[in-house]
Structure formats: C-alpha cells, structure tokens
Symmetry: C2
Subunit: 342 residues, 2 copies
Amino acid sequence: MSEISKLGEFGLIDHLTEDIKLNNASSVKGVGDDAAILDYTKNGVRVLVTTDLLLEGVHFDLTYTPLKHLGYKAAMVNFSDIYAMNGRPKQITVSLGVSGKFQTEDIEELYEGLKLACERHNVDIVGGDTSASATGLTISITCIGEGEEGKIVCRNTAKPNDLICVSGNLGAAYMGLQLLEREKKVFDKSGRDEMQPDFAGKEYLLERQLKPEARKDIIEALDKAGIVPTAMMDISDGLSSELMHICKQSGVGCRIYEEKIPVDYQTAIQAEEFNMNLMTVALNGGEDYELLFTAPVSLHEKINEIKGIKVIGYTTADTNEKVLVTPEGPEIALKAQGWTGF
Amino acid sequence: MSEISKLGEFGLIDHLTEDIKLNNASSVKGVGDDAAILDYTKNGVRVLVTTDLLLEGVHFDLTYTPLKHLGYKAAMVNFSDIYAMNGRPKQITVSLGVSGKFQTEDIEELYEGLKLACERHNVDIVGGDTSASATGLTISITCIGEGEEGKIVCRNTAKPNDLICVSGNLGAAYMGLQLLEREKKVFDKSGRDEMQPDFAGKEYLLERQLKPEARKDIIEALDKAGIVPTAMMDISDGLSSELMHICKQSGVGCRIYEEKIPVDYQTAIQAEEFNMNLMTVALNGGEDYELLFTAPVSLHEKINEIKGIKVIGYTTADTNEKVLVTPEGPEIALKAQGWTGF
C-alpha cells in the first residue's frame, strides 16, 4: 500500500484522473484548471445542476461498504437527481476529503467505482480535487446534465387527478441496510476477524443498498413512449416523504393503494424475518433511487405497457387528503418519516 | 438559540433559502427540486464549473473564524476560480454537513456571509442541502459561471517570453493566519475567556485572511483594456506553486524578480516582527486569491497603466529554468512549497 503523503495533494488528483477521457460533446475541458469548460449552447437545451455531500459515519459506513461500491453509489445518486428532472447526466465534479487512515489504493478503488458508474451512464468526470481531512472520508459530487426545454419535469407541477406512478420496487435498499447493520452488530460483539456473514440468497437486497442503479432506462422508456410526466422526483428518502414533497409543492392531495405498491418478494421475506411491517418498509425505507412521477389519466394504458412502472394511485384536489387505502378498507393518513439524521 | 433538530433537515434548508431571489437571466430555477435549471444557450457562451470542499480543522479553524466570514470566504474562493478563467461567476450550489454543536443561528450566520458574497458578485444561490455531520462543519460549494468562447483563459497556454503579472499584493493572508494562530496559542495557554487579543494596526492582514476578495475588478479592467491573458490562474497556494503549474502545463520556464514582487508594508512589518523571511512569505504564503497571468510583451505599456497589476518577470523557452533573480545578483531556483496538508 502507498501512503498518500508520497503523492501529495496535487499528485493524488493527477494520478486519479490521468486516464480520464471526455466523451460528451458538451465537455470542452475537464480536470486540471481552475474550472471545467462546458458547452451548453445547443438550442432549447437547459443545464441541470445537482450536488450531494456524503459523510463517513452519517451517509455511509466503511465497515461494510466496499470503496468501489461507495464510489459507484456516490455517482449514481447524483445521476438519479438529473433523471428525476427528465434530464440526462453529462458531467460530474468530485471533491474528496481523505484522512490519514486511507492509502492511495483505497482512493483508487473509490475512483474505480466512480468511473464505472460514469462509463455506464456516459458521464464525464470534468473536475476534482482531494484534500486532507481530519476525520474520515468526505465525498462531494456535483452533477451537470442537460434537459430539453419544455420536457424538464419539476416537483411542483402535478395536477389533481393525475396518476401516481413508481418504477421498480420499494424497500429493498432499506432491508439491505438492516441486514448489514445486523451483521455489523454480530461482528462487533464477537470481534472475530474471520467472521463470514451468511448473505446467501440476500444478494439482491445487499446490491440495492450498496450498488443502486439510477433509472436511466425508465427515462428512456418514457421518452420512447412519448410520455412527459407532470411532476417527478427520485425516491431517496422513502415513498411517503417524497410524495409529500410533490403534493405540497404542487398543491394537490393523494390517494395511494397498499396492494399496488411494488415490493420484491425478497424484501417481503426479509421484513417477515425481521418482524417488520412490510408496508412501513416500502413506504419509508429510503435509498431505492426509483422514480416517482405523476401523469395524466389519459396515459394510463400507455404507462401500463411500460415494463417496470406501476400506477399506485392518483392525486386529488383536496390538499389535506394524503391517504393510503388498505385492502381491508381502512384509510391510513400518510406521514413523511424520511431520514433526517439530526 | 434554536436546536437544528427542531427544524429538521428539510426545514433548515427551506429556512435558509426562503428569501433567496434569482437575479441572473441564466438562472431559470433554483433551490427546491432535484436539480437547478440553468440556461446557457446564448451563442458563444461557455459554462465554467468549479468546486471546493472546506473541512473544519483542515481548511478553517472556528476558534478564530467568524461564521459569517467563513461563508463569505467559501463563496469567494469559488468565484476566484471562475475569474481565473477570465469568466464571470453566475450560480452556486451549497452543501453543508453540520454537527450537533451548531445551532440554527450559526448556520444562518454562515448563510449571511454566503449571501453577501453572492450579492456583491451578482451570483445566484441555486441549490443547497444540509445534512448531519458526525464531526464538525463541512462546506462544499460548486460555482457555475460563464465565459466567452475565445476569451476563456487556461493555465496551459502561456508562450515563451510572455510577461508574468500578478494583481494586488502577496503574503498578507498568510501573515494574517500567523497572527491568528499565535493568538490562539496564547489563548490556549492562558485559558482565559476574557482574553482580548490586540490586533490594532493589523486589521488589513486579518481581513486578507478572513475575508478575501475575488478580483472581479481586475478581470473587468483587463477586459476594458482589451487584454486577454495568454494563461491565468488564481493564487490560492502561493505564487511559487502556482507559477510552477503554469510553467509545467504550458511547457515554459520563468524568471521573476524579487524586487518586483508586490508586498504590502504591513506584511513586511509583520514578517520582521515574526522574524520570517519576507520573500518566503510572499512566494509561498497561500490564500491571497490574487490573479497570476501571462501576457504578450507587446502589452507591457497597456498593463502598466492598469492599477493593481504588476509585471514581475517573464516566461522563457527553457522549461528547466525557474528562477528568482535577487537584487544582489544571485539567482535562486523556485520551488513549489504550496500547501498540501497531507
């Protein structure tokens, strides 16, 4: 392993970024100057900018998070924000704060994950710096993307009586986290180095937590079908919390149906094993990075034809109505339990 | 004082950004969605992006840094990077990691400084989030700006026999830091709460450290005079280190003259008081955020007419020649002692 101090601050970032090539026409100049240079003069194009700060001990736990996965996820959560605007991510800048416990190879691994994510989503790394940190690892990523004028989708534009739709399934990332946290506790107690947690059959849940995939495919499928959602966001803090955002910002209410909410069978099995309420997991478990959007009722059939999208309810004109309808009949008021961390 | 937990994560950022107005035509939509929306379709315009991560205990010390100043400086160092490309800063996004020791009022103060800096430089805050931090304060700012095609200035385009120029004066911010660090040590020893350090007559040095000003005026003066530098960067890590960057990236050497290097008399007095070599301070002291640029010799007279710019030497074709010429005659090899922190 190599001490980072041997390379120094400039040396490290030069080393990490030396093989980075720019693939997007909008990336004019990348890493290595005071700022990156981008070209977004194409007619009708808008620039989208989103940023995310990940702190060790708050947003990730290196006890069970491989650094390559962490890099992959750090990029992916930013891409997800751009897709959630119905846009396409094009560039990222990466700032790292790195404490003395890390070796050059560790940060290389992190960058491996970043690069893999960027490759898969055709995104260029155009800026980056690394600095010393007194306390663990800090990752700050800014993602720049493009959206077409008139096709960019915000949170505040849902209409009453729109369909409410979600992609994929919910709660799996949260169950993955619970699994990892449980094993960590077992490990902390036993203190044995050779502990090998038995995750057989749980791979899907772990992957949803450690290596989420931003839903580029859903954005492309919607575009192909000629569908522009009325409002959209990505589900990072749990369906319930995100739906509250759309309702509040759009001035609408909502009715969603418990039996329509998509849940993977592994999530269900794990919830039972942990004696957790599956609906609570699906409604409030965060980090699935699925898309939540609204669309006119007239598009119901078209949406049903798209694989991986489920209609879970509809918006209403009554802003006070935020309701989960259960199969047995009773209606439950939705609450935002999203992660706050404070 | 109010606990941040009362507001929660979303509440805090809503509260901090509720009175933010957008002033730039390129700012279409700001805080409050998955991403900000910008319009950079104007013909011949390029988007500039730079990012900076500031960590408590590494980049700033809250013992002697008022939070308002810190916010101001955090914005300013990003603006400086955009000016260093001969561009104009237009938007910033702000990510904060905040530990439990901070109150809502503290973060408000930080935002006060950010907003003041943005106001003065006509920059919009278009994105931001706050999250919990396990360990102090983390500030990540990304700045987006615009530059004119053909007028953007990089680091790698200096030619041999160009003039080497700097704005303002050097070493003052570093002397300010030494003053603050000395008082901190005195304070730590005495442990008295009522200690009032005597900074009378040192205000300029402290201001250069705590509240630096990005050189928008110099960029405007150059533009007015019709001067486009051949290469440019801002001096954050010390003149010597930055000059090495330009030489290395442009494939040139340099000869600079000790007696030409601009130093304020207060910096000189303080260096003497601290028994420090003034040239070492001026060459290697960081955080002045002045501009370092090269320009064709034919512009010598024009440049001399601009207040606040000094020609300190010239570039050479010999890439191995990096020399400081002293008044007594001997030539000293320049070294990059820039801050690394690792």
